[in-house]
Symmetry: D2
Subunit: 223 residues, 4 copies
């Protein structure tokens, strides 16, 4: 990952507007934008769509939205690193505010992800919680104050001190992990502000996943 | 579903031997056997494989191994009926012993499955728990005594009274739901015994999912 | 339990107005009212208050608000039937909408409660879910439509068909279990309506637990 | 807490041998030993016993074994800081291997504990997980490798490198938190070894809670 261009994480969640062929369309738009503007995009998708999306794009990263802390075997209904890898996943997002994990499961998932060559992006609520997850050997962390998720004002505008504080705290325990900023991110002003505050990128969902014109919504994010 | 031929439910769990192209191979073998012998087979697969498997077979039923009790929207990391339907699922298994659900979530999942045209198969431990889930409008129920799962002796041989008791109790509350029997099922003797005890079919996993020769393992089940 | 007088279940939840000595005060008021009017009252209390409350009253039933499905042993942080019995509990409420349980855990908890001589009261959302829990050998069930909990209008007034339907469905599977009605219950009119619809009693919380005058609030419930 | 004498944490779990009057007896024995030998003892007890135990001793610390991340209100079946404080708790143990918590709930519980003047002791599996929880403002942390819990050999003997590594990692993020060592601790040799490796104390359960002679079992721990 290069540091002068933002990492843009797009979480499709379980929006019905971002499932199946719609998800493929969003992925292709993201790939176009990524190539045109030279920024790294990672797309967090549903497991049912992962393989199909991965088959349709090559220059953006495809992440699962969740993984269970088990490797393989008699684990009905679990999402395993073996299955994600087989389906082509580049990485996995963990501990999103809509799918929180036990601390020991975060630890186990990170170890399993490393074993299977999956990148990790771990979300958390507060600077302190992000610091705690940054103690693990994670590739990326994201701070997303829950009260701002899905809101009209981005965290970088509404609470810049949260971003600054997160960057400072994470760097006390981890020099290498990339730091994303989420909640209310909609346009390149939000992205620029986040970068100016020391973040390496952003994480967003509805602005793209619920957009009538996902390509335009993604382009709007490029500084 | 016809009543004189057994329903054979095969749960691939998260076995690494039954993922991706291996899962497709098992699905094709199941389809061959289903056509050759005229019995109904349903295959419970990982969400990452669902779409690909569904695209490769047509005469067997493809089920998800789990679903979350939410429809669509801001539910990162959840498996929704909308996503399952889009990927081609015919139905969903719920409350397997490795993925137990809250009672209210079983209720909600069954309602959502009906709304989206997904068949339901609900597992439970004991005759009494199977009776409780049979109160809902489910297509199939399965009794699987946990102490016999993965064991050498089938429930129909080791504890025939559990099968009889399940059939009796379920019929007190639900005339129509099909009743499957699981735990230790390996061959057509186990299947015949289950049917003789009043069951409509069987549910099994490792005998097929971990087999070197899945086609033969499935054929062995046909009475 | 006699059938012509209502069973009045009072859940103190975790209200700070109904903890410690306040809880004892409510228990004594409940006992006074119970004696004066000849109706059965059961009080669902926090585990930290159970022993103290039980030591201060004798003619009302003291229930725990929850139990874990384990008997005793290496289960740090669990509430066991052995501990509840030792503290004097008469019974345990299970599956309240604020503490939902897995179906198999409801089954296990009911078995353990019976083993240790604890009465059981199982809550559920809908008539169908109440029917499902009534399949187990429970002493009491309660239907509490979540949309009406804490509201201004009682379920018996707002949705009498839910009460009727619950009574009908429960009786299909269990002749003996008592049927309570909850959500929005505040006064003797609500209680009378519930009884007229076929219920054996009511379950309520805030009308007593948050009252300035709990004795009066309880008296107001007596038909 | 003084640093030259070990802190001895005793977790009574849900052992039937350590409930009710037995728990009081253990608490009194712990107090005797604490006074006689000048070491700090903290006892982690069931919520049903908390108030009674607290009323019977004064010079040892009484901790709850768990707390839920909610303050007070409509939270049926939850253990709140308000209830724990009212019952006399000095502190709360969190995230024990038998009652793991989500990361965000650990954060929330620590904040609530501080607000209500409850000390905190947070357990974790591995040095890295202990480092993560030490990012929060906790009074004590404990490392307990699950594979050694309840075993015959103490962690300080079997895996001294785990203790050393925990001390080193915790000190990178938190200068003040006390560090306890758990799993297989039985006697003063185990305690001395733990202290020599840099720990401030130990955490144990069965050696006392299941002992025929708890006083002797506690005395055996004193270096």
């Amino acid at each position: 990952m290069e540091s002068d261009r933002p990492i843009i994480g797009i979480n499709l969640k379980a929006y019905s507007t971002a499932i199946g062929m719609n998800a493929v369309k969003i992925a292709k738009a993201a790939e176009d934008v990524s190539k045109a503007y030279g920024c790294e995009i990672l797309l967090c998708v549903m497991p049912t769509d992962l393989r199909m999306i991965k088959a349709s794009v090559s220059s953006i990263k495809i992440f699962a939205q969740h993984m269970d802390p088990v490797e393989e075997g008699a684990f009905t209904g679990h999402i395993t690193p073996v299955a994600l890898k087989d389906a082509g996943a580049d990485g996995v997002m963990l501990n999103h505010s809509e799918k929180r994990l036990r601390l020991d499961h975060i630890d186990k998932c990170v170890s399993l992800a490393i074993k299977y060559g999956l990148k990790t992006l771990i979300c958390a609520n507060t600077p302190l919680e992000v610091k705690a997850v940054a103690c693990f050997d994670v590739d990326m962390v994201a701070v997303e104050p829950p009260e701002l998720i899905g809101g009209k004002v981005s965290v970088s505008t509404a609470k810049p001190e949260i971003v600054k504080s997160t960057v400072k705290m994470v760097r006390e325990v981890n020099r290498y992990t990339k730091i994303l900023v989420g909640a209310g991110i909609k346009n390149n002003l939000d992205v620029r502000k986040s970068m100016a505050l020391g973040a390496d990128g952003v994480l967003l969902a509805s602005a793209v996943a619920k957009s009538q014109d996902p390509r335009k919504a993604i382009e709007n994010l490029i500084p």
